[in-house]
């Protein structure tokens, strides 16, 4: 992190809490991450660990209240996301694709209407025919079959894969630096998943955009991203070059997560990690993974581990009291 202004995204010490009837949910206790220009970053971790919350705060669409957000900084392309000016800068610099294409398009408006409204605010004062051509180009960009028909359709008339292509086309209509993709393929079937991820990968590379990809498809993460953040219960537990983390995971959670991926060559379905993410109300005061960790010692129950360099390297960090130790069975 030589020069912060060069970062596409910089999050420092983000904390997100929710007040509910039972108490306070500490969803994200204190998280930092950064994305460099034209860098592709993966964000992995099991469901409910706060990945979407992180992306939503970066895109300035996290509803607060109810969320109680504290942070040292969230900067997009060197500009803080706070205040009206910040939000305007975010709108200019960030695109986001949501998890479920069936809920991220407005059910009551035609695709052409939704796209025109984006274009009108991004490129005001053009002619109707120009907007139409831009929309057709955008759909062509995502290899959409029959773009004319799609423009005249309502979302319910499109298949899931087509809807997600529309979403990607819409997200790419403004020329932004940073693309946030929140599980863009979770709601789709496997063959479509491959197509969509390839498409996303290609477009991001072509346009030299930075990408944050949240996905449960670990194969895709490995293929597409340069660096990966592994999250557990709101904390980053390991971060490093994707290839290195996948080949020699240091954190016991990463090890478990990667081992849980079924492999074609392996023997049957993998076991997964026993247990669940701890409650966010009164979370354990030590390591949040301790109750499920094979390496757990009394120390782990007392103090939360912080991110520390692996082998003195700056680009590989692990938050574990026993990171140096060899994996136990």
């Amino acid at each position: 992190m030589e020069n912060k202004n060069n970062l596409a995204l910089n999050i420092e010490n983000l904390s997100v809490k929710y007040k509910v009837y039972e108490g306070t949910l500490e969803v994200i206790p204190g998280l930092s991450m950064h994305v460099e220009q034209a860098e592709r970053v993966g964000l992995i971790g099991e469901a409910g660990c706060g990945k979407t919350t992180v992306l939503k705060s970066a895109a300035a669409v996290l509803h607060s209240p109810p969320a109680i957000v504290r942070k040292d900084a969230i900067e997009v392309c060197g500009v803080s996301v706070d205040g009206k000016k910040g939000v305007r800068s975010v709108r200019r610099n960030v695109s986001m694709i949501f998890q479920d294409p069936s809920s991220s398009l407005n059910p009551t408006l035609k695709i052409s209407t939704q796209m025109t409204d984006i274009l009108k605010s991004q490129f005001p004062g053009r002619k109707k025919a120009e907007y139409r051509q831009m929309m057709l180009d955008a759909l062509d960009n995502v290899s959409m079959p029959a773009p004319e028909r799609v423009l005249g359709s309502y979302p319910v008339q499109l298949s899931g894969g087509m809807r997600q292509r529309v979403c990607i086309a819409m997200a790419l209509m403004k020329d932004t630096n940073l693309m946030l993709a929140d599980e863009p393929t979770t709601a789709l079937d496997v063959t479509i998943e491959e197509q969509i991820l390839d498409l996303l990968d290609k477009l991001v590379r072509e346009k030299k955009k930075s990408l944050v990809l949240v996905s449960h498809a670990l194969g895709a993460i490995r293929k597409i991203t340069d660096r990966v953040y592994v999250m557990y219960a709101g904390n980053v537990v390991e971060v490093g070059k994707t290839r290195e983390v996948f080949e020699h995971p240091r954190h016991p959670y990463t090890i478990g997560l990667l081992a849980a991926t079924p492999k074609l060559t392996g023997s049957g379905i993998a076991d997964g990690i026993a247990g669940d993410i701890p409650s966010y109300i009164n979370p354990p005061k030590g390591c949040r993974f301790a109750s499920r960790c094979p390496r757990c010692t009394p120390e782990c129950l007392e103090a939360p581990p912080v991110l520390e360099s692996v082998d003195g390297r700056e680009d590989w960090m692990v938050a574990c009291h026993h990171a140096g130790e060899e994996a136990m069975a």
Binding site: A59, V61, R91, M96, N106, P107, D117, C167
Partner: protein, 340 residues
């Protein structure tokens, strides 16, 4: 598009069947009520032969289905709803005279409710959980649970009796040569007599207010709820990040889906206005259809009662169809499902 029209036609056919059944049921009720309507109408001193002749004229000496069929034939072929034993003229004429006045009242209310309900609901949703929202919520609860007649009496007391801003009831006389549609305000406008329209308007303010306030409160609650729910929808966040301007986001992307539940409730509220108008027309001495309805019911006027019920049925059905069309217009999911 063709399929949409087909769906509407189907709906209309359903409605016609429903109205036929309704008219028959009401018809049988007036025969079941004890007492002789003809005798009531003509008084105790009228000789038996005259009564019998009148009864036969009105088909009361025939069986129920025959009487019903005769009535139905009259309605369908000549718009003849039978003779009223209360006003002693054809019920159709009575309807023509009184119904437009009530429709006018209801029409003003419907517009007022739509605008105010959506406006108040939207303000409430935008300033969610602020002091303004809480104030609106408090007033809404009061409005929903206070009956229209209580509001009417209260308004009369404050604005007419104490402050003297509005007349205490009744309507100005409309000259006979003014009558075009039967709607008082509209007729004045059509003739170009704005001074008289002003008077009519002044007399309409309090009835419209007392008839609308409850519905406005209810609509505002529903609309606020729908908007607040949809604000959290993914498509709003997506449109926001994708760069849709804030104004469009609220007024179009958020408003259109939120309007679907509101419109359904709106239809029910407008239909129920006709029922609520009964009491309001009495309180404000408004010469409308509800006043007339009360009179025919109290006088056990058979053809009058049937016609009144029938007209209410038609109004409900029409409002219902309009709401269904409106909802389908707003929500492509419904449109596409019904047409496939």
């Amino acid at each position: 598009m063709r399929k949409t029209i087909l769906a509407i036609v189907k709906k209309l056919l359903h409605t016609i069947v429903l109205l036929l059944v309704l008219s028959f049921v009401v018809f049988s009720f007036i025969r079941l009520i004890p007492g002789d309507p003809v005798r009531i109408s003509m008084g105790p001193m009228t000789p038996e032969e005259t009564i019998a002749q009148k009864r036969s004229e009105l088909y009361f000496d025939r069986s129920l289905p025959v009487q019903w069929a005769h009535w139905l034939k009259g309605v369908v072929t000549e718009g003849d709803f039978g003779e009223s034993l209360f006003t002693h003229r054809n019920v159709a004429e009575d309807i023509k005279q009184y119904l437009p006045k009530s429709l006018e009242l209801v029409f003003y209310c419907a517009i007022f409710i739509l605008i105010m309900g959506v406006l108040v609901g939207t303000i409430s949703a935008i300033f969610k959980n602020s002091w303004l929202d809480n104030l609106i919520r408090f007033i809404s609860y009061l409005g929903v649970c206070t009956p229209a007649y209580a509001i009417g009496v209260l308004l009369l007391l404050v604005f007419s009796y104490t402050l003297g801003i509005f007349p205490i009831g009744g309507m100005p006389n409309i000259p006979d040569n003014y009558v075009r549609t039967g709607m008082m305000g509209l007729d004045c406008l059509l003739v170009g007599d704005f001074a008289l329209f002003g008077q009519v308007f002044k007399c309409m303010v309090l009835p419209v207010l007392s008839l609308s306030l409850g519905s406005i409160a209810y609509m505002a609650r529903i609309h606020r709820g729908a908007m607040v729910e949809n604000i959290n929808a993914d498509y709003i966040a997506f449109a926001q990040v994708a760069g849709v301007s804030q104004g469009k986001l609220v007024m179009k992307h958020l408003m259109k889906p939120s309007f679907i539940p509101t419109l359904t409730i709106y239809g029910l509220q407008v239909a129920s206005l006709i029922g609520n108008a009964f009491i309001i027309e009495v309180i404000f001495r408004y010469p409308g259809f509800s006043q007339y309805s009360l009179n025919v019911i109290q006088n056990k006027d058979p053809y009058g009662i049937v016609a009144v019920t029938f007209v209410f049925g038609i109004i409900f059905a029409v409002v219902n169809i309009l709401v269904d069309i409106g909802v389908a217009f707003l929500d492509p999911r419904i449109r596409i499902n019904t047409s496939e």
